[in-house]
Amino acid sequence: MGLLQAHCPGAAGTNVKTNNIQLIIRLLIPLGAVLLALLIGAVMLLSLGADPVSGYATMFRAAFGSLDGFSETAIKSIPLLLVGVGICIAFRANVINIGGEGQMVIGALLSTTAALAFPDLPSLVLIPVVLLAGAVGGAFWGAIAGALKAWFNVSEILSTIMLNIVAVQFMNFLLRGPMMDPAEVARGTGIPQTMRLSPNADLPILIEGMRIHLGVVIALGVAIGAYFLLWRTSMGFRLRAVGYNPDASRYAGISVPKNITAALAFSGAMAGIAGAILVFGSESHRMVTDGSSMGFTGSAGFNGIVVALLAGLHPLWSIPSALLFGGMLVGANALQRAAQVPSALIIALNGLIVVFVVSSEYFKQRAIPTIRVDGEMDGAEEGGANNG
């Protein structure tokens, strides 16, 4: 799949110095892309009569300037990170999952169903249950696309696009119908939302007075877990083998269809967990729809792809990448509040960053001549770099 393929520096035996240079290049090029986008954004800000320097300062302060701001950024980053990690997994098996939006929705619906079905379970049991239900829901939705690709040769790109739309309509149907809050039905007011879900499923707040909740820890755990799954388990090995060379894998006795399905299921599971966290980590502790998927997911299903790209399709690098994007989204609101710039500018800026990040892949490849498609060393090395 061309350039999206991992451009992994550091084959075994390269000396440390080259590794460091390559690491720096790996970091600098995507950051350069972001900066370039911000530069164009500055011109757009100027054209609206706003001061770009103070504007960006406002954004940065709001996202990273205080503990509370950072807490908001972390929350915003959760779905981005989880979807991003899912993209990394799918990508290693050479499948592209753009069904994150739909998988988040189905995951959220199934986890909501679980909370409605077992409201009396104690928190220690119910929280894992709803998260698991989210994972299963997302995995199921992902696996549909996976199975269609594996056994019917259906392009997962096209099927996941369709499944996104189907999922949203399904959510609208359920929340306006069978799953609607009985109080809303009784009162006749009909807000398309579920009842307030069992408090036992509320994700605990980590710092009193802030919104940061257990979801952040879960997302980090999942990201690290995905790293181990890919590079420390035989399952991960099979996924990567199928992605790297399906023919050889088949010859070696690895089932290609099963692993393709598994890859999309894992990827969907990540998105499904993100959906569950959005429901149980929210202030209102219920699922609500505004009729589109964006209202619920905040487009994390798409933005997560960019997060993964910026991270070089590595689960651990996705952590800072998600924080960067999350921070930008949080900062964008502050910018709007401070300078009253239209929301259009923020979306355009987001789009610009995406475009530049995608194009930066090329320069990254140019800058790093040693390309290995195998992720083994890459993973080990970056894991180390991240811990250090």
């Binding site: 908001e72 009909g190 919104r211 959005l278 905040g298 509040r337």
Partner: protein
């Protein structure tokens, strides 16, 4: 480690001091925040709220400072935006969409010293008031005009989602039209979207094809009025004046206006007299207005509308007065009675004359 801790606490202390200084300097002005569901330039719902915000700024001058955040979806995002407004020193926050109800209440609980006003909701709290307009009063008046102007006795209604607010409007419109022309039928098409010009056009076209010669809408775009103009039928606009989109078509527009209300609320916060109330204002308070009626409408009809307007304003006339039959002909409001606000808030049936059924 200990040194690090010290640095950390000093930093926090510094931040607090800075925060105090900042809030002290800003304390003189009342900071008012608005949360909008769509961009301000949409000639619809948000546009009217933003006009209200600007009126508030004009009326209270430098006593207030207002800011808005637009295009905030009704999900987890809304909580963050509302909370951040409260946190960054906004003392009075208006949240202007139905789905912001729970987030507003949650955030209000966390910031007991700030004031919140939620539009179209039904739950108040210690520091949360609600407000909405009696759109149905304007709908009733518009119905009178439509009932007099139709030749086919068929009116078309493009509607977004089957919630009481929309159903109330459909019923009031139907009652108004049938008060002058009992043969009226009202056809409703639900587009399942507040804002999709393409769908709104297609629905309007379908209604016109089925014989409707006056189109109205409870959606946010100007497409129904545009379509009516193109197809040579009449239209009744909603939210804002759309006469430039349909100079021939638009008979009138039912508009809602918040300037007075926003000013009043802000003033009451400044005077420390704010109380959580569920305000439901209409023609009497000037929140609901019809735009100037198209000259094609006969003088007699205009006079009737004016008379009814007066009646609604002084309370002698109520649009939902008995006898009212539901769609199946069953009497639901006896003669001499009228529906209470509570009945109106939970309205989930069609009155006689509306065709089709409310989707589940």
């Amino acid at each position: 480690m200990i040194a690090k801790k010290h640095v950390f606490s000093i930093a926090i202390l510094a931040a607090c001091v800075l925060g105090l200084v900042l809030s002290a300097s800003a304390a003189e002005k009342l900071k008012v925040g608005f949360v909008y569901i769509s961009p301000i330039g949409d000639a619809g719902w948000t546009y009217q709220h933003n006009l209200g915000r600007l009126a508030l700024e004009k009326n209270l001058g430098d006593k207030v400072e207002t800011k808005y955040i637009e295009k905030v979806p009704e999900g987890p995002e809304a909580e963050r935006v509302i909370r951040n407004l409260a946190k960054s020193g906004y003392d009075l926050i208006f949240t202007t969409s139905f789905g912001y109800m729970n987030p507003t209440l949650k955030v209000a609980k966390m910031f007991p010293r700030k004031y919140f006003e939620h539009c179209t909701g039904y739950k108040t709290a210690k520091n949360v008031g609600t407000y909405m307009c009696r759109y149905y009063q304007g709908r009733y008046l518009a119905g009178i005009i439509a009932g007099k102007m139709t030749k086919s006795n068929t009116l078309g209604y493009v509607a977004a989602f089957p919630i009481p607010e929309v159903i109330r409007g459909i019923n009031a419109y139907t009652l108004g039209a049938r008060s002058v022309n009992p043969a009226i039928k009202v056809k409703v098409i639900w587009v399942n979207s507040w804002f999709d010009p393409g769908k709104e056009r297609e629905a309007s076209e379908a209604l016109i094809a089925q014989g409707a010669d006056v189109i109205t809408h409870h959606t946010d775009s100007t497409a129904p009025v545009l379509t009516a103009e193109e197809k040579g039928v009449y239209a009744i606009a909603y939210h804002s004046d759309m006469s430039k989109y349909g100079p021939k078509a638009q008979l009138t527009a039912v508009t809602h206006n918040y300037g007075k209300f926003y000013t009043k609320v802000a003033q009451s916060v400044l005077d420390h007299t704010w109380k959580p109330e569920a305000v439901w204002s209409g023609i009497k308070e000037g929140s609901i207005k019809l735009t100037p009626i198209n000259p094609v409408v006969p003088k007699g009809v205009v006079a009737l509308v004016e008379k009814t307007t007066k009646g609604i304003a002084d309370g002698t006339f109520k649009p939902f007065h008995g006898p009212i039959k539901n769609q199946n002909g069953k009497l639901i409001v006896a003669a001499g009675k009228s529906l209470t606000d509570k009945d109106l808030l939970g309205m989930n049936y069609y009155v006689e004359g509306v065709q089709g059924s409310i989707p589940k």
